[in-house]
Amino acid sequence: MTTETVQTPDTTLAARADEWLDTGLTCVPADRAAAEAGVRRAYADAGLTPPEQILWFGSPAAAAVAIAMLRTGETGGAEQSGVRDLLFAQSAFPGQTVLGGSVRPKVRTGPWARARAELVAQLGGVGFARHWAASSRRPWQQLVEQIVTPLRTRLDAQFAADSGPLGAASREAMLDPIFGQHDAAWLGAFDEGTAELAGLAAVARSAGWWWAFEHLAIITERPREVHRDNLGRLHHGDGAALSYPDGFGLHAWRGMPIPAEVADELGSLTVERIRAEDNAEIRRVMLEHFGFDRYLRDSGAARTQSDECGVLWRVELPGDEPLVMVEVINSTAEPDGTFRTYFLRVPPTIRTARAGVAWTFDLTEAEYSPLQQT
């Protein structure tokens, strides 16, 4: 049963969450010795013989390709020469070096599940929910949902585009990475003294993603740069939002991964170029980068309605649903005493500014009677 005495204070848990979140976001080069020691410890704690070799790569993308080469014996083409050279330089040879099976379940999944079960038994269901919310909810959202998931999605799409054996094997490798620094998402929930997690925690503090196989472990560097918006989503208008020291980069706009060519074009957009873009998702990124308000002004948007809540604007987009936006004036003054005007996109079915503003708060028009806004 839950007892208040075993519940760790919120301030301690929040400090742990902040500290691990910093670990998860850090861009300093890996501490290779510490990471390798952590890997060996994780194997030992899982009752396994330490890996015979530990290989390093500059990014999860390169590591997945390296695993695919070792798995299939393929050495790839010109595009994969960087990964191939790194394998050779570390005395690992496709067709000769044996990975063995993945030991991820023993090294990561098992210890985590046991530590969690112990905590649930100790705190009870609601106690655990509260403990998790205080220690791991934010790091999980910021690291797993905002960084790991887009990165995995992008890598999967990239490998899926390669129809050869290396593409398929690289995709397979993406099924069992251990997230290294991004495991900071959940490590904060557990006491530093949880012995079984010490190896995983040591790698998380020292390196990026890694893979654990029977005979071999593969570790990657941490990103060199991470750019995020105010909600923590990957976001950068001038270069990759997430970039690794080997040159691999993920371009993203407000959390949505975009091709590098599109990213390059964002600085020089015009209304005509946006209108001509036939990929709806890309067009939305372009619209957002260009600025909804500027697009409304430059494209001759129709002012369809106005009331005490604001002004409703509408632009038809060929082959897409119309852009409908409500222009509102923030009712709380800025520190300098001015009132900021801003635009919010609302569903095209909205007919009045009032209904639009109400929608942004998930309220009906009748429910919406603001006293004050922040």
Binding site: D10, T11, L13, A14, A15, A17, D18, G125, V126, A129, R130, W132, A133, A134, R137, R138, Q142, R228, D229, N230, L231, G232, R254, A280, E281, R284, D320, E321, V324, T332, A333, E334, P335, L344, R345, V346, P347, W359, T360, F361, D362, L363, L371, Q372, T374
Partner: protein, 97 residues
Amino acid sequence: MPMDREDLPSGLMQAPRDRRNRMVLALGEATGHAHVITGERVSMLCPPDDPGQLFLLIEGYGRLGHEEHGPIALGPGAYRVIRQREYFPGAIRPVAD
């Protein structure tokens, strides 16, 4: 958004505080700016299965503060915390603070 006390969901737990023991409604990840509740006899509550859904129960007085604008007074009562969202075809996304 004010609501009747009787309409507060049952089984709510105290929502966790931050490291400075503050009740934070929303935090800008990049700026670190936060909407923080202070006051007398104020509780910030959430359902155990959804720590993102917040309620306030104010029995004394409450104040909502933010670095970028002045504080807002909140009288006694129950409140549901709602964040503004923006429409994006195929997805609905919270507004970047």
